[in-house]
């Protein structure tokens, strides 16, 4: 996932072939900035979007940070819930993006799958007042939802138990599934979650998210205890 300057330039060249409205605006040792218009031409749910959007795209170099998009000309309404005050767009959970590109990152695919879909959802929402594909919950809730989908498991408690097992134990198909079904892992969630045990890159992503969720829960618990004591 980490971009060297050379890799970044190679991918930017590919991107500019499909998004010719963009250009390199600034470049330093730590990041490359692209600005200009991206053209979005897609459809879903009977809605068509064909539009140019002015953007600033920042590609961090030699860092684990993901590229991001800034709505530098305020095309997204200020009250839209998925735009930060500084103009940064909340495209998806980092988990979704990192897992999608866990083996190799593609700027072209990232724009296509995450940035274009973001603008599509935005325009659909502005027109119909509904999100065409839904929206993620804020904060930790959105991360848990991402794993609910990845693990094909609706129960967030079971998802958390699976994440814990992935972080703390090696894969053993004959052991009981951490979800509590009393079935062997290989006959239960095993086939879906096995890759998160086995692939070191995926495992690292789960570890980071598990730690975040764990810390969040501990913090909530401590706040509750503090409030109880204060009573």
């Amino acid at each position: 996932m980490i971009f060297t300057k050379e890799m970044a330039h190679q991918q930017i060249a590919e991107l500019l072939e499909v998004q010719s409205g963009l250009h390199i605006e600034a470049e330093s040792e730590t990041q490359i900035e692209l600005t200009g218009d991206i053209f979005i031409n897609c459809k879903s749910k009977g809605f068509f979007l064909s539009e140019n959007y002015p953007v600033q795209i920042v590609i961090p170099l030699n860092s684990n940070e993901l590229p991001y998009v800034i709505d530098n000309e305020n095309r997204i309404a200020k009250d839209y819930p998925h735009r930060y005050d500084n103009g940064k767009l909340c495209l998806e959970t980092e988990t979704s993006i990192r897992i999608r590109f866990f083996d190799s990152f593609s700027l072209v695919e990232w724009i296509r799958e995450f940035v274009e879909t973001y603008y599509f959802s935005y325009e659909f929402f502005q027109r119909y007042g509904e999100f065409p594909f839904g929206e993620r919950g804020h904060g930790v809730q959105g991360i848990v939802e991402t794993y609910q989908e990845l693990f094909h498991e609706k129960d967030p408690i079971k998802v958390f138990a699976l994440m814990k097992a992935i972080c703390e134990h090696p894969y053993r198909g004959h052991s009981l599934c951490p979800c509590g079904s009393n079935q062997k892992l290989r006959l239960c969630h095993g086939p879906i979650v096995m890759k998160y045990y086995m692939d070191n890159r995926l495992n690292k992503i789960v570890q980071a998210d598990y730690k975040n969720i764990y810390d969040y829960l501990v913090n909530c618990y401590e706040q509750l205890r503090y409030r109880e004591k204060a009573k």
């Binding site: 879903s44 068509f48 909340c90 594909f133 929206e135």
Partner: protein, 408 residues
Amino acid sequence: MKNIYERQKDILSIIQGLDISPTLYHNAVEKYQALGKYLNDSGLKAEIYPQGSFAFGTVVRPSAKDSSASYDLDFICQVMGSRNDYTPKELRDKVEIALKSNKTYADRLKIDDTCFTIEYADVGEIGFSIDVVPAADESDEVKQRLILKSLVPVLIDTAISIPKCNNMCKFRWITNNPKGLRKWFDEINAPFLSSSKEAEQMRIFAENRALYESIEEIPNELERSALQRVIQILKCHRNNYYARLKDGDEIKPISAIINVTVTKIAEHFNPNCTVFELLNYVLSELTIYGEHQYITEKDFNQKYGFRTVFSRPDGKWFIENPANPEDNLADQWNNDERIPNRFFQWIEIARKDLISSLEQKDNTQFRAILENGFGSVSVSEFLGKKYCGEATPRQITSQTAARPYSAQ
């Protein structure tokens, strides 16, 4: 340089394509007149006449979800005598028995709470259904009451009573006046119609040479004025807009609201206007009426002067049916605030799509706006690939699509 005139013409060609064709029109007339003859021959003295969009000349192919959907044409079957001569159930049963006793109608018949539907599926490529609502003349007592309340008392004479089924399957009378409403509409529409008469006759004649030998043979009912076209454009845009909403079927504004409000707004506009001049004016006025959502009736009247198409005395929405002063067309708006909220959001979108986008957007963007407003099947059917860019729009798969998030 964008050719706005050509874009307007293309929108009109979509609407013309979605209008009822002369062949289908003649077929429908033949069918409802035959039904009237049959009922009278079988001893039920009744008059069948069109109501709603078929009477107004504002028919559009209905469903945005199904491009091959048939036209729903509405008719009143007014049985001789007044409501005092029957109970509501007796009147309904009389019409039902008559329809069921003829195999042609019985085989095509569907029955619901208010009307009898006769489906004609195989006429040309697209079929139509005839909705027949039984009715009797309204009582003198009720008519007198309506005359006292009405701003146009001369319309009240044609008021009728319709058997309406409540939740317990018990029938009661409700008052309606489709003939009066048509008379009101025709009077306002007349100057608009005469302004476009010659051009319309030429158009229909040119498009239907096989059907008519001379212009004189073209029925007046097939000509369309700017007012009728504006109503058709808005109905079609509404169908497509609300079809995309999860709760669209529950909150879609009824056609009567579009017919009546647009006609009232157009009443004082120059009848020699183009369709898009009138559309622009109507949408601007409807946008102003949207202010009723945020300010009091008093403040609205102070700010916008004498505008009475929509009003909100005591916070309740009111759109008067000009032919029935006791009928508030916005009744449902007061039970479900989603209806007015979404109605005025839709007006804003329609204004963007149909007015400002024509000037601002390039061809590919305009194509997307057309497909959103009128449905991709209809746009392709009547415009082919016009305005399409080199690349076809990429399909986003719902199941795997990214969803916006916020970490904060």
